[in-house]
């Protein structure tokens, strides 16, 4: 596998009047799918705009495919396929016109793959863009981005507003892109189910700060909810790495982000159940823990 970094953000800061993205460090290697997860207004789109050169950082460095951004954006974007749910095609033209337009710009345009995608997404080249539904519009944008065979695919909330079938089709397509391990995907969403399904690396972002970034399996292995039944009058043993506890009579639920078998040994017979957490549960617990730690 080629381990060259496709995205490198170091100490990035971007200040707006009512929002600041602070000290963001982020790496994406070739062959990876990174899910960028955060609540609305967390800074996902700002991060993506910095990566695509649409915004310039106030501090820090942004490098994409080896190019400094935004200075070398024209060069970098030759190998980037970028789709955002806020992006629109030219309403006066047809899907086919856009295919010809993009094909004439990108040397890597794959007409056979484009035709396959058109069929798979049930698009009609002769259809005017202004007549497309939201789902069809997103599919057309993705078809145009995928068929140019970019080394880096950047998707900002691409599945937002799509029905489950359309989401399934798109997510399947994204994983197909990664069959070539020199390619990578950065995928932002607040839908953790989508992210959990296709990402192999996950970055949580909240209120302009990076909360945590690591491999998906790492998250899923390290986070647990442990249910205890404490004998009357006994105290909960002191444990490190417990980031949340909920007490209901003699029942206690602990949340840990560094689960290990030793932890269960330490808790002894009080342990009733150990639950794996979904990505959504991990995300919420993680964000709440970090907000608490920052006194927010």
């Amino acid at each position: 596998m080629n381990h060259a970094k496709h995205i490198e953000l170091a100490g990035v800061r971007k200040k707006f009047r009512f929002f600041t993205l602070e000290n963001l460090d982020l790496d994406l290697e070739a062959g990876q799918i990174m899910g960028l997860v955060g609540p609305n207004g967390a800074g996902k789109s700002t991060t993506i705009r910095l990566i695509t050169g649409l915004l310039a950082a106030d501090a820090g460095t942004v490098r994409v495919l080896g190019h400094g951004m935004p200075e070398a954006q024209a060069l970098a974007k030759r190998d980037i396929g970028f789709v955002s749910d806020e992006m629109k095609l030219f309403s006066h033209a047809t899907v086919g016109w856009h295919m010809d337009f993009v094909a004439s710009i990108y040397a890597g345009w794959d007409p056979q793959y484009a035709a396959t995608l058109v069929k798979r997404f049930n698009l009609k080249p002769e259809q005017p863009v202004k007549g497309l539904s939201h789902g069809e519009h997103v599919k057309a944008l993705l078809m145009l981005a995928l068929a140019r065979r970019p080394r880096l695919l950047i998707l900002d909330e691409p599945t937002s507003g799509l029905d489950p079938v359309a989401r399934h089709e798109l997510l399947t397509e994204f994983t197909d892109v990664l069959r070539d391990d020199s390619r990578s995907i950065l995928f932002s969403s607040h839908n953790t189910l989508d992210v959990e399904r296709i990402s192999d690396r996950i970055t949580f972002i909240d209120r302009g700060r990076l909360v945590e970034s690591r491999d998906k399996e790492d998250f899923l292995e390290r986070w647990r909810r442990i249910q205890l039944q404490m004998p009357a009058g006994s105290a909960l043993p002191e444990l490190p790495d417990i980031i949340g506890r909920a007490v209901d009579g003699q029942f206690v639920t602990l949340t840990t982000n560094r689960f290990s078998a030793d932890m269960l040994t330490h808790l002894g017979t009080a342990v009733r159940e150990v639950h794996r957490m979904s990505l959504e549960e991990i995300f919420v617990a993680n964000v709440m823990h970090h907000r608490e730690a920052r006194g927010e």
Binding site: R49, T52, G53, L54, L55, A56, P70, Q73, A74, L75, K77, R78, I80, G81, F82, V83, S84, E86, M87, K88, L89, F90, S91, H92, A93, W97, F101, V102, S104, I105, L141, A145
Partner: protein, 222 residues
Amino acid sequence: MNTLTRRLIAKEFFQHRWMIASSTLAGVASLLVSAGPGIRYAIGSLLFITAFVSFGVVLAMISIATERKERMLQFVLSLPVSYADYVRIKVWSLLACYAGPWLVMSGGAVALVLATSHLPDGLTPFVVLLSGFMIANFSLVLSGALLARTEGVIVLLIIVTNMFVSLFLFLVSSLPGIAAFKDGAVPHWNATFWAVLAVELAVLVASCLAPYFIAARRRDFV
């Protein structure tokens, strides 16, 4: 000129083809109306100026403000192009889109003055200056629309540049070097004419170059 630049320029012509054709047609039709004497000339002239001005405003608005408002700009900026490239391409492609109808309307207006017996040939310098004003005014709208960040600024820009039309007609036609000769039998290409033309040219050049310098310093594009 690279392929992307060529394609984006072609895109503008494709997108605005009907507007270019219909504005040219409207301009020519209004000139034909104004070929008649009296009230026909007055109505035709008014229609001609309206067609000329509104074509420029609508062209800039649809191509720049609407593209931004309807988020097509994000698609353009996802292509291998910098914002400075985008600005350069917009300025030249829209000037090119405007130039065709402008040439037809300007040429038609001069021809009308020279060919029509009820219009004195002395009016020709004023008509040439009016044509120069139209393209300079369009470049101002174009430049302003590229630089404006909000819809309010663009609306203000349209109002101000429309006011310039009335100001131009009143002020330039009152200049002694123009007023004294416009009813004459022969055109007078005097110093006043050249001075006004030089100002129009300066506005045109400055308006076309300003977005380059400002866009090059701008750091956020959407």
